[in-house]
């Protein structure tokens, strides 16, 4: 290991200014003499969540210990979400009632009444306590716009969102991982270049714009598919025609979500498999006489899948966030559309509710990822 030598005292400037100015001047003269050994974790192109580097080296311990640690982590995240929800929505905007009052004319008496209705005349700590109790008992306040309980609204809208995101997630994961391993295996082939550059393009557009384009082509010009909503009104629920109708409504939003997200899965899977490509066990497998396909399917891919799982679940959060705009574009009656309406309001209790619920879903998904990971990777199980 050649550590930078310290026996040439230089009167030159320190490294920092030079490195800092390098990209600004457009020149690639990156200094950084100590830049050796950048972790390969930063690979994976734009979806630059390297597979290996975030996970701590798994500590030992029983499954129970592992479970408790992960549960604890999820609980801390959930507490942070709840606290953040309180501070963002009750503290940052100043007085929410004044904000409502700014939107529509109100007398001081009405303002005072609203204030006591929302409990804003109480001390902050009492408000926080009420808020905590509310969340634990499923009471998320009342929507300003809908004049309904936020919990009831969310209950009503959560189903379509789960349907949409779950469908998109399954398709995106399957497509992304499959294309990713194929393109890694045929690295630098025409297929690889096509797959990589297509995903790069999809990665570079906003989800909602893709939705608008699809809407324009298939809903507007060709009129093949419905432009919005979830079911055509008037159909018997759960009848065959209604199911087909929902599927027809589902196609465009799912395609726009998948197109943006699968690219990230493809990149991650590709990078992850490339890491495995030069491993000795693959040579062994080939020496045993397995065909290339068998080597790939039975040896390389399972190992490459491991680090991918965590990343895939991390990106599910992004998928859910993408649902907000896609649901807005396609008027899909889900939580994303509710969020969109809440922003338009602005309906802070509703926004707070959707934020907490979205975050809870994502935290649970990640907890699931951690548990699945342990189940998949025997090294952690035994450790």
């Amino acid at each position: 290991m050649s550590t930078p030598t310290h026996d040439h005292p230089q009167p030159t400037d320190p490294e920092n200014p030079e490195t800092a100015s390098a990209p600004e001047s457009g020149g690639p003269s990156s200094g950084g003499s100590a830049a050796g050994g950048p972790s390969s974790g930063a690979s994976g192109g734009p979806a630059s969540i390297g597979p290996a580097d975030m996970d701590e080296p798994p500590k030992g311990g029983s499954f129970l210990g592992y479970l408790l640690r992960k549960l604890g982590g999820a609980a801390v995240s959930m507490i942070l979400v709840v606290v953040l929800g309180f501070f963002a929505f009750r503290m940052l905007p100043g007085d929410p009632v004044l904000k409502i009052a700014k939107e529509r004319p109100m007398s001081p008496a009405q303002i005072a009444e609203l204030r006591s209705q929302y409990g804003l005349d109480k001390p902050v700590i009492v408000q926080f306590w009420d808020y905590l109790v509310g969340i634990l008992t499923g009471d998320l306040g009342e929507s300003y716009v809908y004049r309904k309980s936020v919990a009831a609204l969310i209950g009503e809208y959560i189903g379509p969102t789960l349907l949409l995101t779950a469908t998109a997630a399954v398709i995106a994961i399957a497509l992304g991982l499959w294309l990713g391993q194929l393109s890694a295996w045929r690295r630098n082939s025409l297929f690889d270049k096509l797959a990589s550059s297509t995903s790069l393009v999809f990665w570079s557009v906003p989800t909602f714009w893709l939705g608008l384009i699809l809407l324009m082509i298939f809903g507007g010009t060709l009129q093949w598919l419905p432009t919005g909503g979830m079911v055509t009104p008037g159909l018997e629920p759960w009848s065959f025609a209604a199911v087909i109708d929902v599927i027809r409504h589902l196609i465009l939003p799912v395609v726009s979500l998948v197109a943006v997200v699968y690219a990230q899965f493809l990149m991650v899977m590709r990078a992850s498999l490339l890491e495995e490509m030069n491993e000795d066990y693959l040579t062994t497998a080939r020496a045993k006489g397995l065909t290339e396909d068998e080597v790939r399917r039975r040896h390389a891919v399972p190992n490459a899948l491991l680090p991918t799982v965590t990343v895939v679940f991390l990106h599910i959060g992004g998928l859910i966030a993408g649902a907000v705009t896609v649901e807005a574009v396609f008027s899909w009656p889900g939580l994303g559309k509710l969020t969109f309406e809440a922003i338009r309001g602005p309906d802070l209790p509703l926004l707070q509710g959707t934020f907490v619920v979205f975050s809870a879903i994502i935290i649970v998904m990640n907890l699931a990822a951690d548990l699945v990971y342990r189940w998949l990777d025997p090294r952690i199980r035994r450790a």
Partner: protein, 330 residues
């Protein structure tokens, strides 16, 4: 992961950079060889720069990206000269046809209020690129600080920082940015803060892993034995060694920030008084341009976003490949 020693990573790079000498600031330069060394280092750096430039130039997508970026930055800077702001004033467009499809008279068509699309795109590039870059700078600063802290400090403090990074890593930044920008006063600055405050986690993670790998090097140990404190190790040793990585990451992140800006504007959280590509798309959605056949209204701002984001990504990948030789074989 730590296989690349500085010498292997970049043979041409100066191995005796004076800045890394913990005592360079304190001890007066004693002896003549220092001058020769400086010249040597300068030459090496020049050679290195030339080599890197050659590598960058041979990467065709990156060069195309760089040219496109320069083009977009130029039109953003020169927008007031190319098309005066009055051309965005709705009251002065009364004789212009609404929803005119692209033609010679209206190169990119007009919108629902008779404004030329190309003028809007031109002006929109200012906010979109500015927000993208500013938010990225903010997110890089936060991410670097948090990543260094998480990698350098052990014990309770490090664990707490790590937990915070994890939290921001798990929650999609868009969700948090929606929350922040909806409760704060509307404006360009709010959007920058909302994106910058919420999108630093992946940078922090990269910085952290790099910090960990550098931290185990002998020269850090040497510095520590010589009595270097936290701030010395952090700012004199760790920061310079993570900077190249952070900078390559910056170019990759700008694209994400531009998309985030357009998404927030599209949701109506942007500054409605200022043109941005997201705002144009929001307006197109408000008049149902997509289903009414006004394709140019939807297509042009999106293509502008696509081109700029793609350019930043291409340039970023090329820079990353130059800085991180391990990626070159890919």
């Amino acid at each position: 992961m730590t296989a690349n020693t500085p010498a292997e990573a970049a043979p041409g790079k100066p191995s005796g950079a004076g800045s890394l000498n913990p005592s360079s600031g304190r001890s007066p330069q004693s002896g003549a060889p220092a001058v020769d060394g400086a010249k040597l280092v300068r030459e090496r750096r020049l050679n290195n720069a030339k080599k890197n430039w050659a590598m960058f130039r041979s990467d065709i997508p990156a060069m195309v990206g760089a040219v496109l970026l320069i083009f977009f930055i130029l039109i953003a800077v020169l927008a007031p000269l190319i098309a005066p702001e009055s051309r965005l004033d709705v009251t002065k467009q009364l004789d212009v046809p609404r929803y005119a499809p692209p033609s010679l008279a209206h190169p990119l068509g007009t919108d629902d209020l008779g404004r030329e699309m190309w003028v809007r795109i031109l002006w929109g590039s200012r906010v979109s690129i500015l927000v993208g870059v500013a938010a990225t700078v903010m997110s890089m600063v936060i991410g670097t600080i948090m990543g260094l802290a998480a990698g350098h400090f052990t014990g309770l403090f490090g664990a707490v920082v790590m937990r915070i990074i994890d939290f921001f890593l798990v929650l999609p930044s868009l969700l948090l940015a929606i929350v922040l920008s909806s409760v704060l006063e509307r404006g360009v600055f709010t959007i920058v803060v909302a994106i910058g405050l919420t999108s630093w986690a992946s940078t922090a993670r990269i910085v952290r892993s790099q910090t960990l790998s550098v931290e185990s090097r002998l020269y850090i140990e040497r510095a520590r034995i010589l009595g270097a404190g936290h701030s010395h190790i952090l700012f004199k040793h760790l920061l310079p060694s993570v900077m190249p990585l952070v900078l390559a990451n910056t170019t990759l992140t700008v694209g994400g920030a531009i998309i985030a800006e357009s998404t927030l504007s599209f949701l109506g959280l942007g500054d409605t008084s200022k043109e941005s590509w997201g705002t144009i798309l929001k307006n197109s959605m408000d008049v149902s341009a997509a289903t009414s056949g006004y394709w140019w209204y939807v297509l042009t701002p999106g293509i502008a976003i696509l081109l700029v984001v793609l350019s930043f990504t291409m340039v970023g990948r090329a820079l990353e490949a130059i800085i991180n030789p391990a990626l070159r074989s890919r």
